[in-house]
């Protein structure tokens, strides 16, 4: 992958851990629907043949030296994309649940609205996507919690199908939540007065592997994410108050 020359340069990143069964299809599908766009698979130290399968399918691979978790994995991709000079990055999960046909729509929204983040949402319009009862309950809960924090409703706060522009990349390469990053990342952006939009996307049921969020981890997930949201709100509000005080003292 070389330094991009186009002002609309796009990189698709795919975080993956032990996805040898799905990754080849995911990369091939992305290359089919957004031809000419480089695909970067970030391998979170898989113990199977994910790296080889991804390379064979035509992706560039960024192998991590040891397991960093989803946030560390995605942030490594953001850091490399920023260093290489890409203007836009779209993240697609490596398990094949995201439909690559939706990538152009996310990219178009990023370019036309100028907002910092676009979320591929399962629920912004009824597009036939279905999710489990517990997960659905969790999403509704976080929708309620996030509404006053973000100042607008986010229909699918846990979606991993996310596009960002270079301004957001610059923020995320420096600071990105390490575990369950989707919801906290939204708060981080909103506190910097960045904007986000949602576009309707389809999500397919997982055909291979297992979700990292098991029933037992669900409670930990809720507590962890709530704490992350709370800490981010406090952190940025304090910074804002300090900046206002300094402006007041200076003026």
């Amino acid at each position: 992958m070389t330094f991009p020359s186009s002002p609309d340069s796009l990189l698709v990143i795919v975080p993956a851990l032990n996805e040898e069964a799905a990754i080849g299809g995911v990369v091939a599908e992305i290359r089919q629907h957004v031809p000419g766009v480089p695909v970067l698979v970030i391998d979170d130290c898989s113990s199977d043949t994910t790296i080889a399968v991804a390379r064979q399918a035509g992706a560039q691979v960024l192998p991590l030296p040891h397991h960093l978790g989803l946030g560390g994995c995605v942030q490594a991709g953001y850091k490399l994309a920023y260093e290489l000079g890409f203007q836009y990055v779209i993240r697609v999960d490596g398990d094949g649940q995201h439909d690559a046909r939706d990538i152009p729509r996310v990219f178009e929204k990023l370019k036309t609205t100028g907002c910092e983040m676009v979320i591929g949402s399962r629920f912004v319009a009824d597009n036939g996507s279905r999710t489990g009862a517990v997960r659905s309950l969790g999403i509704r809960f976080f929708r309620l919690v996030l509404r006053p924090v973000l100042g607008k409703t986010v229909h699918d706060p846990t979606s991993g199908f996310v596009g960002v522009n270079r301004r957001a990349l610059n923020v995320f390469r420096q600071s990105f939540p390490l575990e369950y990053p989707e919801i906290e990342a939204l708060v981080v952006l909103q506190r910097r007065r960045f904007r986000f939009e949602e576009v309707p996307c389809k999500m397919r049921p997982r055909t291979t592997g297992r979700s990292t969020i098991t029933a037992l981890k669900s409670l930990y997930y809720v507590v962890h994410v709530l704490l992350g949201v709370f800490v981010n709100v406090l952190k940025f509000d304090r910074r804002l108050r300090r900046a206002q005080r300094e402006r007041g003292a200076g003026g």
Binding site: M1, Q60, L62, P63, L64, P65, H66, L68, G72, Q75, A76, K79, L80, E83, L178
Partner: protein, 120 residues
């Protein structure tokens, strides 16, 4: 009560010896051993110096000395665990940043090598 204080003395001595052996074998770095050594020494002194322990007990207003000793020890260890949590968090952040940098540098290196091979 004396038996309880004797047990505390024994535990303090064991902790002191364990920490010193660990430092000697480089299993624990000196800067992280200091707080353990101080905690063990404080427990040892308090369990042997009854007058000092009684003074502390009166100061806090607790009914008996062993309870005072164990409360103090518990408090000290809680603070130490919290301090180590902070250190571990910093180390984890540094470790993640380092791993990401290594991965990115290796990626650039691979690209350079493949360009060189193509040119050759």
């Amino acid at each position: 009560m004396d038996r309880l204080l004797n047990v505390t003395t024994g535990l303090s001595v064991i902790l002191l010896v364990m920490v010193l052996i660990s430092v000697r074998r480089a299993h624990i770095r000196v800067e992280y051993s200091v707080s353990w050594l101080l905690a063990a020494a404080a427990m040892l002194i308090l369990s042997r110096a009854h007058s000092l322990l009684n003074a502390v007990r009166n100061l806090i207003g607790l009914p008996d000395s062993p309870l005072t000793l164990f409360l103090l020890a518990g408090g000290v260890f809680l603070i130490m665990f919290f301090r180590f949590s902070i250190i571990i968090s910093h180390l984890r952040d540094d470790n993640i940043a380092l791993a990401q940098r290594v991965a990115i540098l290796e990626y650039h290196l691979q690209n350079l090598r493949s360009h060189e091979n193509q040119e050759a």
